[in-house]
Symmetry: C2
Subunit: 348 residues, 2 copies
């Protein structure tokens, strides 16, 4: 009922082996024969059986992209860039690969399960994006998985994620610490001395690094840290809104609020406005990532631009073996401070 290689072979009056070779194009086949085969394929509307071919060839054309939250443009943009380089369909003909993005929802278990699923499919490559969870056992489990994957020939690339020790995985890491530090230094330079910080979920590397950068800047400026000034939340707008109200409750004299990312900053702005405070006249706000909407807020958001697309594209090329991995398998990608309207000198 479904058309198989053999059917095509019969129709083209050749052996299945020949059809396979025509389709894979890695073995000399006479032009006339090839054409006959191709015609038969066309006439029969033949579609290669992926599993069968993956089984026989011991490799598949699947490439997995793991993201924490597919509804967040931060990941969407990276995924899009990665997928663009994977070739997916539309890339150079022939090397058609199925680039698939898997949404872990930030859950360690799902991350592991997806990795297993990908391993099961004998994926050609896997790209993990975004911060990792710092839980030691989980990190070890992931590292073990990654080792297995590379052993099995799957290329593994981390994009915007810290390196995985004892692993063959290539890592393109964002300089979250440096970016955060620069950002806070900017605010301090403006004259701020009481800065609230809305951090992400406690257990994520991204959260910790950004927070560390922030604190490093404070310390360098000789500003003593006040535990009331830091609140943890999720990486979304809602969380930013609530955290800001909390911050304001704890210390109404804050003159600046630094958010873990742009979405959170958006929520912070809303909370400030709802509290009757003007931005930046009463309170300055800063975000992180420089997502597309950040330039459109009113006032536009001071933030740190992360080259999401570029990093994703590079990760994609490395995953496809089309670009050399950086020396040592690790590269740091820096962010760029974008000073915009949401930050200004503190009110007197």
């Amino acid at each position: 009922m479904t058309v198989t290689l053999a059917d095509v072979a019969a129709r083209a009056q050749v052996s299945p082996a020949t059809v396979s070779r025509v389709l894979n194009g890695n073995y000399p086949v006479a032009a006339s024969t090839r054409e006959r085969v191709l015609r038969a394929v066309d006439e029969l509307d033949y579609v290669l059986n992926g599993p069968a071919s993956a089984l026989a060839a011991a490799t598949s054309d699947l490439v997995g992209i793991l993201v924490n939250d597919i509804a967040d443009p931060f990941f969407g943009i990276m995924a899009s860039a990665i997928q663009g380089e994977i070739g997916g369909p539309g890339g150079r003909a022939g090397g058609e690969r199925l680039a698939v993005v898997c949404n872990t929802g930030g859950s360690p278990e799902r991350e592991l399960t997806y990795l297993t699923l990908l391993q099961r499919q004998r994926a050609a490559a896997v790209v993990l994006t975004g911060g990792a969870v710092e839980d030691a056992p989980h990190a070890a489990a992931v590292a073990a998985k990654l080792r297995k994957l590379t052993e099995a020939g799957t290329r593994v690339v981390l994009c915007g994620r810290p390196p995985a020790p004892d692993t063959q995985a290539v890592a393109l890491t964002f300089d979250n610490r440096g970016g955060a530090r620069q950002l806070t230094e900017h605010l301090i330079g403006l004259g701020h001395r009481r800065l609230g910080y809305i951090a992400g979920p406690e257990e994520r590397t991204t959260t910790r690094h950004r927070l560390e950068g922030h604190r490093a800047a404070l310390e360098a400026a000789g500003i003593a840290e006040d535990p009331r000034w830091t609140v943890h939340g999720r990486y979304d707008r809602r969380s930013g809104y609530e955290a800001t109200l909390e911050l304001l409750r704890r210390d109404p004299s804050l003159t600046a609020v630094v958010a873990a990312n742009d979405s959170v900053a958006l929520g912070a702005c809303a909370a400030l406005r709802d509290s009757g405070l003007r931005i930046p006249d009463d309170v300055s706000v800063a975000g992180f990532d420089d997502l597309p909407f950040s330039v459109d807020t009113v006032p536009s958001l001071t933030t740190v631009r992360l080259p999401l697309s570029e990093a994703g594209a590079r990760a994609g090329r490395i995953a496809m073996g089309r670009e050399e991995p950086p020396p040592g398998g690790i590269a740091t990608v820096r962010g760029e401070l974008m000073v915009r309207g949401s930050s200004g000198g503190p009110r007197k």
Copy 2:
């Protein structure tokens, strides 16, 4: 070198058949045996070979989700909801399926190629999201593909996409026309008579339906349409910015700008502000979709809320055979008008 079913069988002192049955859990196996097998699996760290199993069983656990632009939250949100219901990992144990999202970038060819790739993988289900391209040959090609897929046992669901005639595909369609009409009626009710419209790409169904709704409202109010009032662009902020400048150039007396979606509306707001116009005092702005950031703009955006998550979740359940398809295979999902700060009465 890699562990196979046979290895596990040997270790557990049973036949490969038994191991397979334990793993698939669809055949009676004595508890003691099962446990022995499970232990062996664990000790050997065995991972099922997906392709082999798909080949033998003639089905795979892959579910494809096609989106036009993964970097756009509109699709991200739907994809996330769909994936949540697919179970992906984290769902009920056992039924682990690899939900993968494929980014077509709005390109008809890529859409087709992805469909072929999924067909090749013998996907268990496919969900297509977002508007379709109206090009007749392409539509026919897609319909043919979908027919092939369903024939091969793949469940096909359209989410936020018009029904595909002559197809077994279940369709959850957004009432773009109705929503757009309501939105424009709201503006007209406010007193607006000269409304600019920034439409999406010409060839997309979504674009056409929203535009039709808009025009229907105009007509119903007896407002003659002026061709200068409509500009086509892409579904992104940048495009909205440019289109608005164009609109203003063509007719500076416009009192309202209706955008194809929220991202476009954001760009429109920026353009208006940069042109020295106040929102909504000078010009009202409206969007469509009600993406998360739309409530955070200043002023917040009047728009039409589409239940992206709900629709996606439902599509996911239907794709998994966990919910009955709507009668006739077609359901219309309505939007809800969200009146917010960006719309007001026209200036005198």
